[in-house]
């Protein structure tokens, strides 16, 4: 069910401040695309424009075109709620719903949208938790609150919650930055597994991680503080990390700045 995303000339604003400018790219289906770049260069902002989460912030708006297959995500008659149902998201900090049990957290996206029978829900919850490599750890305590899990488990719970609604694309905003190396490894394994079914976009500050998990890498940078962020270069991950065409990319990857 994974789908490709086509981005043309996208600008994003916070009020009058232009955060990103003139982004063009194609995000392949059933592949992992990584966004790297220094802090404040607009990676996360751009990621959030992809499922219309950017406009949730008061005063924020987006210009340009983003198409998923043949659908314009910013068309005037497109319901942003349904865009977000199709393009799921995992956040930097694990954010399970504190009032809900583990089971209810995974079922949240389904329950809040449609009616499902108990047995349907049971199957989807089990499949999603298995998909997020969490089932074995939590199967005996599904009714306990999700906030009682460790950070890494919470993040996998959030991934299970995101894939339970069966999106076509999964956006991940630095999903491992708050986690220890073991949990990070678990999530990276998970990403490699998930890409068989989903189109995955991941923002990361960790270049080894980008090199390990992604097929394509996009490098973002900004000319100076206060200037909008731009896409400098995007190519196969191996190409970006071995022979980038832009000087800035090479400097960033080799650690000369950023």
């Amino acid at each position: 069910m994974a789908k490709q995303i086509e981005v043309t000339d996208v600008d994003a604003y916070y009020g009058s401040h232009k955060a990103i400018e003139g982004i063009n790219m194609t995000i392949d289906a059933r592949a992992v695309t990584a966004f790297i770049g220094p802090s404040g260069c607009g990676k996360s902002t751009f990621l959030r424009t992809l499922n219309r989460m950017h406009e949730v912030i008061p005063g924020a708006r987006v210009e340009g075109k983003i198409r998923m297959e043949d659908q314009d995500l910013y068309g005037s008659d497109v319901d942003p709620v349904s865009v977000r149902r199709t393009i799921g998201m995992v956040f930097q900090r694990p954010n399970p719903f504190p009032t809900m049990s583990i089971y209810d957290n995974v079922a949240a996206g389904l329950r809040l949208n449609h009616r499902y029978s108990k047995s349907q829900l049971d199957t989807i919850v089990e499949d999603s938790l298995k998909g997020a490599n969490l089932w074995n750890e939590v199967k005996d305590r599904l009714t306990k609150p999700g906030s009682g899990l460790s950070g890494g488990q919470q993040q996998r719970l959030c991934i299970a919650r995101a894939i339970a609604v069966q999106p076509q694309v999964l956006l991940m905003d630095e999903p491992c930055s708050a986690l220890d190396p073991i949990s990070t490894l678990a999530i990276e394994d998970l990403i490699s597994k998930l890409k068989q079914e989903f189109t995955i976009v991941i923002v990361t500050h960790n270049m080894q991680q980008a090199a390990r998990v992604s097929d394509k890498t996009a490098f973002f940078n900004l000319a100076a503080q206060g200037q909008p962020g731009k896409l400098i270069e995007m190519d196969d991950t191996t190409k970006i990390f071995t022979s980038p065409t832009q000087k800035a990319t090479e400097d960033y990857i080799t650690g000369r700045f950023g």
């Binding site: 329950r111 809040l112 995101a162």
Partner: protein, 295 residues
């Protein structure tokens, strides 16, 4: 190593002294704050316990002569419970929806600012003014009779700003992460508020509502002007004068006989107990609803 290396030193006597001094001040402040609370409770319990019997809780003042002992506050208890319940029924939904609008929908618009402004003004309305308003509008202009309902409206005016502010604070405390997590699952804004934001803020909102209830349950002035006064049991808050516990205290305390004074103390104690029971109930609700205990 020519630079001066800092040495590890003992805590100076002065700092130790300051620490102890401030600590003593904090304890002192605590004791000063608790003295009036304890003395009020003590006085009310000591004086009220004598008449707080079954007769007091189950009988009204009907046919009790000016100098008679006996009689009770049943009619006042019923009145207070009904009036406060009705006031909550009016003010909690309005207050909650107002808070939801202020926090979730009003994006710094003119409407949001003016609502906020008027809520602040309402907070400062003296209770007697709320009573006068209902008296003037509902009873004198519209020609409605004195009733528990009229009293409830006056109390609702007093409760509303407290409910709005408490609910607003609690909704603001809900982390934005949770709203975003819900949006990212393709859940609409309203469902996010109902299923994610409100349950998260539930405990705090209940506490805020209880504070508002406790505040208005002891109001006398607005009741005096709206529910009027009666010595008989009137179970119907929509029809005819009712009684309330604060009114009862006010009435009995003004009489010259010891029997009446005793009744006033007992009624004051009853009011305190009712509010404590309501608070206990709210605590239990929030305890059962808290996620840590779920199933």
């Amino acid at each position: 190593m020519s630079a001066v290396t800092p040495e590890i030193q003992r805590i100076s006597g002065m700092r130790r002294f300051k620490d102890k001094g401030v600590q003593a001040l904090v304890y002192l402040a605590f004791v000063i704050a608790v003295i009036p609370l304890v003395s009020v409770l003590w006085l009310v319990i000591a004086n009220g316990i004598a008449r707080l019997d079954l007769e007091f809780l189950t009988h009204s003042m009907r046919n009790i002569g000016a100098r008679d002992a006996g009689g009770g506050a049943y009619h006042a208890i019923i009145g207070t419970l009904e009036q406060v319940a009705l006031a909550s029924v009016i003010s909690v939904p309005i207050g909650l929806f107002t808070a939801i609008y202020l926090v979730e929908y009003g994006t710094n618009g003119r409407l949001k600012r003016s609502i906020s402004f008027f809520v602040d003004i309402m907070t400062g309305v003296p209770s007697v003014v709320a009573g006068l308003f209902v008296l003037a509008f509902w009873i004198l202009i519209l020609g409605m009779p004195f009733s528990g309902w009229a009293g409830a409206m006056a109390l609702a005016i007093l409760m509303l700003p407290t409910v709005v502010r408490a609910a607003e604070e609690m909704l603001l405390l809900v982390p934005n992460d949770l709203r975003e997590a819900s949006y990212a699952l393709g859940v609409s804004k309203w469902r996010t508020i109902v299923k994610v934001v409100l349950p998260t803020a539930f405990t705090g909102i209940v506490t805020g509502v209880m504070l508002a209830v406790a505040r208005v349950a002891g109001e006398t002035a607005p009741l005096l002007l709206t529910v009027f006064f009666t010595d008989s049991i009137n179970n119907d808050p929509f029809n005819g004068p009712q009684m309330g516990l604060p009114l009862y205290v006010f009435d009995q305390a003004a009489r010259p006989n010891d029997t009446a004074i005793d009744r006033a103390w007992a009624a004051a104690l009853t009011l305190i107990i009712i509010i404590m029971l309501l608070n206990l109930a709210a605590r239990l609700i929030t305890y059962w609803r808290s996620p840590a205990r779920k199933r």
